[in-house]
Subunit: 342 residues, 2 copies
Amino acid sequence: MQINGTEYRSVWFEQGRLKMIDQNLLPFEFGIKEFSSYMEVAAAIREMTVRGAPAIGAAGAYGIALAALCSPDEKFRTYLRNAREELLSTRPTAIDLSNGVNYVYESTIKFIPDFPHARQVAVLAAQEYAHKSEMDCLELGIVGSALIQDGFRILTHCNAGALATVDHGTALSVIRQAHKQGKNIFVYVDETRPRFQGARLTAFELQQEGIPHAIITDSAAGFYFWKKEIDIVITGADRICLNGDIANKIGTYEKAVLAQVHKVPFYVAAPKSTFDLTCAKGEDIPIEIRDEDEIKRFNGNWLANPSSAALNPAFDITPESLITGIITSSGIFAAKEAAQRV
Amino acid sequence: MQINGTEYRSVWFEQGRLKMIDQNLLPFEFGIKEFSSYMEVAAAIREMTVRGAPAIGAAGAYGIALAALCSPDEKFRTYLRNAREELLSTRPTAIDLSNGVNYVYESTIKFIPDFPHARQVAVLAAQEYAHKSEMDCLELGIVGSALIQDGFRILTHCNAGALATVDHGTALSVIRQAHKQGKNIFVYVDETRPRFQGARLTAFELQQEGIPHAIITDSAAGFYFWKKEIDIVITGADRICLNGDIANKIGTYEKAVLAQVHKVPFYVAAPKSTFDLTCAKGEDIPIEIRDEDEIKRFNGNWLANPSSAALNPAFDITPESLITGIITSSGIFAAKEAAQRV
């Protein structure tokens, strides 16, 4: 992605260290954080320095690579196992995390006790995972752009952008490609409470790309559906089940219900790492409940009555019956067939 | 309403001045503002020192009374006409404002040129209007409480509380009465972006009353519908049309759609001043578009990408087909019959 004229990825490996754009600072400040241990990477995933299912998958993959680089030979297997457990415990909903972590872990431990090669493989496997994820996102954008007609007004929720992936994005990869093709488009950006990933990150990415857009409160989408001013909805996903149900950022389900009621197509864009072939249906996906403080305060300032409780589910489930199709790098599939066909 | 053990109304008249609880400060600070001219009252309505359809109706009524008290005899009619125009221009959607303003205006000008009596009548008419509005809200709460069963989990949007009315509230009047009757209830409080009237004001009122509740982001209601953890939705209204369509705070429409899809009853609670017998249907209601800054900043702090635009419709329309019933002091009516029956 271009940020103020320079090309960036959201996460990348450089001289033995993992680097990430600090997504908690954006768009008010731009900063890069460096990580040299898996513990630091786990903390960064928990604190959402990096967020977005494909991006945390890559961060987890690199976290295992850092563990391999840091581990003493004599404790290599235990150290890597602990790193895997710690990284997987950070966030429960996005399946990309375990796909990234497990891919590098499995690739690496095969080389024990050849520790120098195991370390080399760990880094290469993480880089391969990230590169593949980036390619997947670029390709699904090209595939999905066929859905976008000139003049379309698109609704998206949360940030399914380059920042949420290694690069390009999922929903925003589709939108970027449509824009590159010269189609006139307009994007309604749900602000996405409580952490404002839409208002902060999606709006920032669209502004950097010069794509016309406006931020709306999450509750205002219904008004624009009612006015018939939304032609298509595209979101990302944190996990896609065998039956086509998905988990995505809290609020996605409401937009899917509204889209169906208003006969507006609702698409999910996702790389292959977001499919969970062991998960039968949406009810089986663990939903992360985050701290109520995310709702009640922002940057230390109170937004809500301090002595009231708040409930903060970070994701919700959208059943396959509400999904018009899933956009992948292999094609656009009906939700219930997508897991079999990607 | 009780606030920290003392009994308050949201707006009241005392020693020739209008007093209001400053709703922009709550719940972080508690302050009372005093007004001695209609221009100050108009500014307070615009800036949302007072908000909520029935409360701004009473504020508008008192605004005309202040105009009558301030006006010189020789310009009385012009002064009152200007006051009426200025007050009516402050906010376009809530019909209570014009009901309150016009009631006092019409009552007063009949006495011209008997200016001492006209002034006396202006104050009495405003007080009568406010008192009637307060009674109406108390009564509709008693009527509506019959809908609330023991154990109900209630969703409400925005603040339809004592603060939004002279006292008691609309949706919260129903909830207060159910609580007083000893029913175990739990209230999901939509935070209500962009101005957080739910998270700030509704949560504060429920906490003051000791009613169990939790704040949720506006987008999270769908998740709790999906989990079958919402038994009834009750909101207020800013205007009710002849055909039963209503305008209410942005986001209400989305909750009504979700309620219907999940077969959860959706009720609107409103005093008689919220009915507009000149408005045929929802499409005819003017929707106030407020400043984008309300979305992008809170108390001076940026929440969103500063150089992106934002769209800030303050209300949306919920069609009568999504409304199970309208709770009034005269009874609970089907939406399409309510305007004829109140």
